[in-house]
Amino acid sequence: MSNQKTEIQLINLTKKFGNIIAVQDVNLEIYHGEFFSLLGPSGCGKTTTLRMIAGLEEPTEGEIYLAGEDVTYKPAHLRNVNTVFQDYALFPHMTVAENIYFPLKMKKMKYSNARSMIEEALTLVNMTGFGKRYPQQLSGGQRQRIALARSLVNRPRALLLDEPLGALDFKLRIAMQKVLKDIQKNVDITFIYVTHDQTEAITMSDRICVMKDGVIHQIGTPDEIYNFPASPFVASFIGDMNFLEGQVIQKGEDTIFIDIEGKHILSSRLMGNFSLGDSVVTCVRPEKIGLDKVCRKEFQNKFENHFQASIHRIVFRGTDYEITLKFGQSEIRLIESASEFNDKKIGDQLFIGFRKEDVITFLKEYKKVYDYETNLDR
């Protein structure tokens, strides 16, 4: 994000397939040179949005601007954006070099002139020497690189990536994430990246747009999305989160007290306007929760909220333990590193504590937009 020049702007973009609303009233501004992710569960409209930017899908309503030009109804082949498809979409009857030559040929460039550009594109994705092979002779990761080279050889204004790493195995995906990020830095092209993998979005993006059911829930940097989720859905979809339900019992300037199972929890990250007696959903990230056997003075000073709970479940995860504690009917999960675990057992009574800044509170009626399924996905 060297400068804040707008590359792509979506205004009130809506797409309906029959009666189904795939994308609803999407407003977005994507800046030049940005790595921008569209993140959401499957069916959230992120791919449809991407296809509308590419020109492969015509919007029902709204406008699309590319570098200031209205391209809403411009056919795909005239738009200066290229797409990397999830299943690569390499032409099977062409060699790797011919595949990369294809967009240049469409620009009426002679093969002899395009040669150096093809070589350059192959070098960019670290696939020099593969020009004469056919796509069928390549592995998944290699095909993905060729698809990338083919989309970049034209130097588009923006590169649209539709879950490009979805078909690769875990290790290859991690490696390709680095490759993609490096390439993006090298070419100074806006990347719009569609994914359902929140880790991928957080590690790679400059900004993320979280979508669900065709609606944007939040746009922000990975840090903002993670630490200041705008809705319970965003809170549940990105990272791990504890959800607790309670009532507002006391209201301060920018803090509220919430009664959860008789415990009084202080929250200072308020997402909405609250009145006394409101039903609320309170979120705390597991890694923000501290654990102490005796509730020492330092512990009390560090955490405004601290109370006793009993260990209900312990899951060993390699480098750490996930401990679930129970108080009343509510459960709360936290992460304890293996070195500090010290033989804790189920049934142990311990003190948990967390700071008021780490308690994010939403109105309960907002709850309908998040579901626990997304928690199971991870």
């Binding site: 056919p75 082949h77 979409a89 390499l90 032409f91 009857h93 294809f102 069928q136 034209n154």
Partner: protein, 297 residues
């Protein structure tokens, strides 16, 4: 315990099934193939070297029948005319069948299946019935003449439509078209939508997408359609008999004559074997060109 686990889990050598297990599945097919195809062809080949003296077939090996094909002025011209006609029929069938298949496969959304069925439906009607139907279209008092008469384009019915190579040509195309259509349609259906999306995305307009993506990827279907039409047209003798008249005679008719009227089976077998060889050569050539089949599995 651990050591035993890392030991020989696969004691059976893999990847080399015994000859028996490899072939036993194929045995019924091999029997079928021998009984119905290979043995009859061998009998035909052997018979083609016998000669007919008077009214008896003498089992003496001779090249007389094959020489007859080259020497007798009847055979070669009709043979080449038949090849040319088969070529024209298959080319025309491709030219007519491709747009039709493209239309049904790519352009039509509603009534797509109905259109497909409409092209296929003639195959349910007996071949002979369909040929005779063409007589009512092309005949002197047929549909075509009636239309032209009522439009006052001609004053009296024309007899040029029927009993001519043209009639044979038209009817052969009619017979071959559904086969050509099916094979091109299937190859068009196999092309994934995302390749067309990618093509548009990379700057190709619909013409260039057709030229550089759809056409090359549908070539296997075109080639197999061409082969089918060619083989159908090459061996047909009913259509020339019913619609061809004297000038529309084809090589198949000459073979039928040897078997059915002249009772010269050795000569008929020799002529038949010549045509069989041509068909095999065409199939081999098209297989070589059609080897691109593996692009879209």
């Amino acid at each position: 315990m651990k050591l035993t686990l890392t030991g020989n889990l696969n004691t059976k050598p893999r990847g080399k099934p015994s000859f028996f297990s490899k072939t036993k599945i194929g045995i019924p097919i091999i029997i079928w193939l021998f009984l119905l195809i290979i043995i009859p062809i061998c009998i035909m080949l052997v018979t083609s070297f016998y000669i007919k003296e008077g009214s008896v077939v003498v089992k003496k090996i001779s090249l007389k029948n094959y020489l007859e094909f080259f020497i007798n002025p009847i055979y070669l011209p009709i043979f080449f005319r038949t090849l040319l006609l088969a070529l024209l029929v298959s080319l025309t069938s491709i030219l007519l069948g491709y747009p039709l298949a493209y239309l049904v496969s790519r352009k039509v959304k509603r009534f797509r299946n109905q259109l497909y069925m409409l092209v296929i439906v003639p195959l349910w009607v007996s071949y002979l019935v369909r040929i005779v139907a063409w007589r009512t279209i092309l005949g002197r008092v047929g549909v075509l003449n009636s239309i032209l008469l009522s439009l006052k384009i001609i004053d009296e019915p024309l007899s040029i439509f029927i009993y001519s190579p043209f009639a044979v040509y038209v009817a052969l195309i009619y017979i071959a078209l559904p086969y050509v259509f099916i094979s091109i349609f299937n190859s068009l259906e196999k092309i994934p939508q995302n390749l067309l999306d990618a093509s548009a995305d990379l700057g190709a307009n619909s013409f260039n997408t057709f030229l550089h993506v759809i056409l090359p990827l549908s070539m296997p279907g075109v080639i197999s359609g061409f082969t089918l039409a060619f083989v159908i047209a090459l061996g047909d003798y009913i259509i020339p008999q019913q619609l061809g008249g004297l000038n529309g005679l084809m090589f198949g008719n000459l073979i039928v004559t040897q078997f059915g009227y002249a009772f010269n089976w050795p000569l008929g077998a020799a002529l038949g074997f010549i045509m069989f060889t041509v068909a095999v050569v065409i199939l081999l050539i098209s297989q070589k060109f059609g080897s691109s089949e593996g692009f879209l599995e």
